[in-house]
Amino acid sequence: MRHRPRADTSIPGALVLLAAFVGLVFMVSLTVGGGDYGLRASLAYLTGRAPPDTAADIARIVTTLRLPRATAGLLVGGALGLAGWLLQTATRNPLAEPGILGINAGAATAVVLGISLFGLNSGAGYLSAAFLGAASACALVLLLAHLGGTVTPLRLILAGAAIGASLYGVTAVMLTTHQLAFDEYRFWIQGALVGASPSMMASVLPGLIGALAGGVMLARPLSALTLGDRAARALGHRPAWIRLAVVGVVALASASAVALAGPIAFIGLLAPHVARWLIGRRPIAEVSASILAGAGLVLLADIIARRILAPYEAPVSAVVALLGAPAMIAIVRGRRSRPCSTTGSGF
């Protein structure tokens, strides 16, 4: 790769490569599935060389099953990558992410309550409930972490874990006392891309676009904030408003992801690390990379989830956790040798 001068307006080569990689994984996910049509048959269809007796079958599978699923993976992963980057940057905590901080659990619990108590059944309904739940959980976790003075990274993570665990308790109770769509719902609460319908995606899309735009707009002010509130104010930013906007955008992004695919952890944790590793210190490119990395990771995990137990489905969240847990341990161990980053929090 050619070495470019670091002007902030240029698009880093790493970002272009990452985008190309996500495009490639997206194409691969159109050719892989848990049924009878693997790579070869799918490629034959995509290049117009499928035998006529199976063409209709493959066409149906690619367009009605794989395409929506891959699109959902793109949206869900991108949303989680965005939420993770915003949280990690805003709290200056390398472990912050919507899964670990209980924000996904907040969204999921609100959707479950909405379904069982108010009979929610539309995409917009799911998204509204998920947004309320995510925003409340986010606010609650930050509040809890602030109780008793200094916010340490550990205190934030513990507050998130506590909120997450309590909320999963609530969903478990709802699961045993309400029998609404019992099997389907159990599937969703585990986190899975299958079943994210085009109509659902369409109703979530406006919120997601808003979150993406908001996230990119917040990238630079948020980076200024890492220099400290006074420096940020001197640069013309308003710290309190930035933080409020971060909570709003994180809640919207997590809520969209949960409404589509249920709670999926670790993506929001890993994507920003990949982004920082690839880009580093260029806020807008970095947040874009985190969004792309999240999308790529979810698509990759979903391909594994389709094949690992084929012809049966494995929940994508389980695959993600399998990859994410070791990565989380590596991050924690890596940080221990660099004590400067374990002090204080921006929130």
């Binding site: 848990g34 049509y37 009605t64 099953l65 029998q179 609404l180 099997d183 389907e184």
Partner: protein
Amino acid sequence: MWIDRWAPHAPTLVFGLLLLCLAGPATAREIVDATGTQVDVPEQPQRVLALGERDLGAALALEVTPVGRLDGRGMSGAPRYLGPAAEQIPSLGQFLQPAMGRVIEAGPDLILAGGFTDARLIAQLRRIAPTVVTSTHDDDWKQSLERVAAALGRPDRLHRFMQRYQDRVAALRAELGDRAGETVSIVRWNPRGPMTMQRDAFASQVLADVGLSRPPSQQQPGSAHTRPLSLEAMRRLNADWLYVGLLDAAPEAALAEARRSAAFRTLPVVENGHAFGVDGALWTSRGGPLAALAILDTLQRTILGS
């Protein structure tokens, strides 16, 4: 903690135990239950609790009306196929989760706890009344029924019921003629990944009695259901006949729900009109004697009626 849940009922419990001690065992029989435990049961039990999934149907089939039951698997009531007779029996809690206070208040002289595996829960029940674990996970419904009959002391009713079942089976087998040998797909519907019942599931056994079998794609060992199937592998649901159920929905709703999937609609068995919505509690659960008769009814109505 169970102790917290129990604490409010401690006086009732002590009182109940005292009463039991005072009453003393009436003439008792000794039987061995599915866990290998020896249990002294009353000669003619009067107040029976049918807590296990198969116990309620078994007791009713043996013409004993229990004084308490639990809700069905994935249901907020008794299984629909058992009808109003079962629904009128007071519920003592959710599936596999008896509320101990209500169990004590019911004043049982015999508790049937088929399918219970929680040793602590079983020990608690044994302190309230003689408790017979009438089935383990691997038992078929006939073994479970025999154990319930032994606990209730009703060998004559067992004989009568089995005779009735065998007669129905023989008649249906004769009517099926060369159709016996056809394959039957049993599906527990889920829009995100349907499941099929495994080879030794309850409904499979009833099918086998009349000479029907499961298709080659549905021969997974086990008596429960498979993991969710990839929507791309829907062709594995095909067979000569297909029955699709949801635990918590009416038969018609299950078929309508499944038909929303294009892959399901285009299965040859569905296009041929050989797919039927059924009660999930009958076809995709652990069943029992009355469920077995109901399945024979459905087979008669669908395969011979079409």
